[in-house]
Amino acid sequence: MPIATDVLDIALRVEGLKKSFGANVAVDDVWFRIAKGETFGLLGPNGAGKTTTISMICGLIAADAGTVDVYGTRIAAGSPRGRRLIGYVPQELAIYPDLSGRDNLRFFGRLYGLRGAEAERRIDEVLDVVALRDRAGDRSEEYSGGMKRRLNIAAGMLHEPRLLILDEPTVGIDPQSRNAILDAVAALGDAGLSVLYTTHYMEEAERLCDRLAIMDGGKIKATGTRRELVSMVGKHDVVNLTVSRAARAAAEGLRALPGVRSATAQDDRTVSVLADGAAALLPDIIGTFAGTPIHVQGVEVLEPSLDAVFLHLTGTALRD
């Protein structure tokens, strides 16, 4: 992990951010830093407060408390200062469907002062990065969902920002587009761009991010490299049980077992168990169902992973 020695080596510094919507505290005292050149993941389930945090970082909404600095420049809602440093790829598409991909990019380029030959050169470059060059002349409403998302990303990186913020850029798209996006982000990260990447897909975070923050209920639960986070879970293992029925009731029963830290029904037939020393506990876990109408049909013991970390920190699995 790069160690920041100078404020200018810190791409993003977020300190004490808070935001409530009425009685609902969406973001609750969030602190983190992203070093220059680092790809940082913000990992959390729906409603964790990721988008709200990003909206404050981009100056889209005013924070109730806290500060945001990008390369030493304070970001404030209503002031254009420092915005050029940021490339923002919103969670929802933000493109004109009735314009071609290229015209959309021309529009966003012009917003940031890019014009003429230089704009066209940059547009060609980003179109190549997101693999949309051959469809650039078509109206974006004729694109597939994944292509639209890729255009959305291209718009965010067009003006060569120094901090790229991507808010769940891969939600709801085909695996091919998803891979294209992940490759593009990885390439940008390798090229030294600082990236803030939010997702609720564990494997994306593991694949892309140098460091991660786990967010839930508006709070950062833990921050660190993957290795650091996993070591927090220590010797806890995740056991996924496939049961014949009533996973909820099964989880209920398992929670009473000594050594079981948590047990959660993921769906009708899957229970995730976080246990101290799964190997020793397995007979007890399976034994729990003796004499009940619930049959264990499959057992899977997982290596400590971010899934386990998440389960450990929040008591819930990271799912939709």
Partner: protein, 380 residues
Amino acid sequence: MNVVVAIVVANLRRLRNDRTSLFFLVIVPLLIVYALGAAIGGATQSTLIGVVDPQPTSATKEVRTALAGAADVRLVQVSDAGALRDALARRELDGGYVVTRRDGITTFGWMASATSPEGFHVAQVMAAAVTREGLRQRAVEVVATGRGTDRVSAAAALERANAEVTRTRVRVTALQGAGDEPKSVTAVLAGGQLTLFIFLASLFGASNVLQARQFGVTRRMRAGPVTDGLIITGEAVSRFITAALQALIIVGGTVALFHVDWGSPAAVAALSAGMALVGTGAAMLLGVVARTEQQIGGVAMGVGLVMAALGGSMQPLHYFPDAIRPFAFITPHAWMNDALWDVQVNGAGLGAVWGNVVVLGAAGTVLLAVAVLAMRRRMG
């Protein structure tokens, strides 16, 4: 500045890509001007005369025959004076007369929407017919009473015959004073459509403002190096340019295709700009309060057409009943149409209509200010 230009260019590109909008911006207004011009502006050569004569007598029939004999005149039976007045106001007829009888005197009341050469010609034919019929009646009188009567009786008979003749007279009245006749009916019709379409096109443009919000583009822009003020300016300038483009298309199109004489270009341009500003304010306001495009379509159609009708875009204000005309001026349309009439009919220049331009500008500014406040509230 980048931001404003970016938004305007994007909006114009969107317009270019939108076939439906282009159809409504170019084809529809010109088609309507053409159709109206063809229907009313009259390729018909004969003069249409309305006749209100509920109880014809031999004398009134004689006048009618004389008029019908005039080669370029066609007579149309009309039920009463009110209906005749309406038909004249709608320019369905070129003139007409009402036969009334009071105290034994028959009066031919001539009406025309304006004094025109055709009107004078018809009135002359009518007067001649009335005189001829009078002479005929006098002769009949003389012959009937002149056989074997004394001078005193003959003089008395002649006296009576004379009195009979003077009982029929022609009175020429015009609904409007002289000088109000448009040089070209098509120009006046096109003027009304110019007003209507600048406003209507603006209102429909409100969907661009709504869409920028719905597409997430407005929010995305706000993450960039821009201020809310610049975003709003960009959208407003886009609306204004679209409205001005609509004006240019109608004026340019009607000049090129139908050779319409619009009068002073400066006056027409200033009035169009004033109306475009009103349209801009209205579009921005509608764009920020509307939730769906259907709402915008409904409001644009409803408000756009009702205001156009009330403001004299469908029927010139000059033909409005006096009691209603003042109410027309609650619409911006009336201020523009009123001034356009002056420009097209009386040859007025910018100097004569600047007051109306100021009223339009002020109305547009107020609307725009309200819209900007509403937008800032929504964004903040």
